[in-house]
Amino acid sequence: MRTSRSPKPRASKKTDQKIFAAIGYGALTIMALLCLMPFLLVVSSSLTSENKIITAGYQFIPTDFSVEAYSILFKYPTEMIQAYLVTIGVTIGGTLLGLFLTSMTSYALSRRDFKWRNGFSFFFFFTTLFSGGLVPWYLLIVNYLHMKDTVLALIVPLVLNVFYIIVMKSFLGGIPEAIVESAKIDGAGDFRIYAQLILPLSKPALATIGLFLALAYWNDWYNALLFVSDEKLMPLQYYLYKMLGNMDGMRKAMMGAGGRGYDGDPDREPEDGDDGRRDRPDPAGISVRAAVLRPGPHDRRGKGMNTGRPGLSIELDTTTIRGEDGHVEKKQMDDVHAFVRFCDDHERMRQ
């Protein structure tokens, strides 16, 4: 079983090795399973029908198989496709630009005959030790560089990273100087040496840093959170983030924030009109008299709330607030977001 990395085994396995192997295989398998299980949960619940999830919770093995979730997703795919296009474009563009800038910078810093290389290194490195914090950075980008709602806001902040410069520089430091010297003798300029000699030689390092850059761009939602409000520019992760937030708000509104539990009829499909209404009395707290899921175009700014599913929006009619003393108050809630906030405040007050 052993490979050359480990010390040579003795001819027969002793008990200590058997015990250790048992512990080792066991612990590693458990850890690997723990790492994989959440993914299984996601895949499985995506293939389970909505009703089953509501009654039995998210499950690891789909008991009530359904591709409903996917069919809804692909019914109105424009927003999602747009988000994919933004993310793919930003990832490719950002990674290529980042690789070019990182390698060029590192190359200049790695050349030992460049007198000021330590000074410049410190100039870059110091930015990891001290920073002005989020606020001046944010104000600079929004108020002075006017990058809000431009694709630059998604690409530029991630394009250079001191850590990658250091990694690249130490890799380039390992390339024999004789190569550079011989190219110089042949009359090549410094940029040409970089582009035609150094770049091809540093493919392994470029691949590693490219992977990290691509991962950072693909998974980025932070810059979108700060700088993007235009829907056309929403990258995938941020689209997902918004969708989850909306779904949560919707669920809260449907169940009523004052109490817990769900006692609407799960088999009933939410439809236009009265059929989808749930009425849940609560001894004290807020109950939603009517939360209606309406098919139709979502109205983003008005009463309705985007459910995250194209073609479905949620509306509230009347909210009943019951005091601890049985006093009842009815309130008209026009804005679902305001309602969710209201419920949260109410909940906090009760604690």
Partner: protein, 313 residues
């Protein structure tokens, strides 16, 4: 004379300087100018005046930050979470790396290593969603299981007490693969002769790990831990924001400096105070890094980040 030789050098290194220009502009713009923007923390920011035109208000922003009672809470949370992350993550990563080195064939190792690495590639948004699917009160897997067993469900998203454990667990889960590979690389580079010598001396596998592997890992452990300690006042915004969001119920146990600064800036638009909190964080962080660097230099001169003359070598 000196000026002339300076210009001579500029000419000589023209190409290098050109190559460095984009990066220099980048860091001037996005790092050094914001450093100058620290003055906002001492001003009453108004949009008409901007960063440099607004009126000074001395230490009012800082006073407000400290008087609000948030300063101590977020600083404590940030530091304690990072300490817990450092201890738990490194211990687990070393454990997994040693096991991966000692047991299994090529395929077993490959499969385990890939599985452990998978969470590293997932964005915090997705992790937040998975956690919500697992933990929410009404339809989360954990509560569905508890109900199935006839037990009382737990309202995790309204109970701060669970969160320190949860966040440590999530951090360990996401970082396990990456850290394991780093430690595995360090173990692989240990001279095999040492193992052979231990073998000849009759050491069993446990003794070999305790007396050869772990002592040989000390330099790596110390450097990685000290580097992490230098960042002890930096909260992982992505993690805290996606796991907790704006759930005020949990802030006593989950609010860190980074989420506090973000909320003050974006939600309550309190630019002065959030800038003050940011400066407070930067200064604390800088002091910690300097202290850690001093410690590293005493421990191992070659590995210090900032040496007196040379840098990053």
């Amino acid at each position: 004379m000196r000026l002339r030789s300076f210009w001579h050098d500029v000419k000589k290194y023209k190409m290098f300087l050109l190559m460095l220009t984009p990066a220099v502009i980048f860091y001037l713009l996005f790092a050094y100018i914001p450093m100058a923007g620290i003055v906002i923390a001492f001003k009453r920011y108004d949009y008409a005046g901007g960063i440099f035109g607004s009126a000074w208000n001395g230490l009012d922003n800082f006073r407000f930050f400290f008087d609000s009672g948030n300063a101590w809470q977020v600083t404590r949370n940030t530091a304690l979470y990072n300490v817990a992350f450092i201890v738990v993550n490194n211990a687990l990563q070393i454990f997994a790396a040693i096991l991966l080195f000692e047991v299994g064939g090529k395929w077993f190792r490959k499969i385990i290593q890939s599985s452990l690495f998978l969470p590293y590639f997932i964005s915090w948004v997705v992790v937040g969603a998975i956690a919500y699917n697992l933990l929410n009160y009404d339809i989360g897997t954990v509560n569905a299981m508890l109900r199935g067993l006839g037990l009382e469900p737990v309202d995790i998203y309204n109970t701060p007490a669970y969160w320190p454990f949860l966040l440590v667990l999530v951090s360990a889960w996401k970082g396990l693969g990456y850290g394991t590979v780093m430690y595995l690389a360090a173990i692989t580079s240990i001279d095999t002769e040492m193992y052979e010598a231990a073998e000849i001396d009759g050491a069993n596998i446990f003794q070999r790990i305790l007396k050869v592997t772990i002592p040989n890992l000390y330099p790596t452990i110390i450097i990685l831990v000290l580097l992490a300690v230098g960042n002890i006042f930096r909260g992982d915004f992505g993690m805290f924001y996606n796991m907790v969001g704006n759930n005020g119920m949990l802030f006593s146990a989950t609010d860190v400096i980074d989420t506090f600064v973000f909320r003050s800036l974006i939600t309550s638009n309190d630019i002065g105070m959030s800038a003050a909190a940011g400066v407070f964080q930067s200064v604390l962080g800088f002091a910690t890094i300097m202290a850690v660097n001093y410690a590293v230099r005493r421990y191992d001169k070659d590995r210090a980040l900032i040496l007196k003359r040379r840098l990053m070598t």
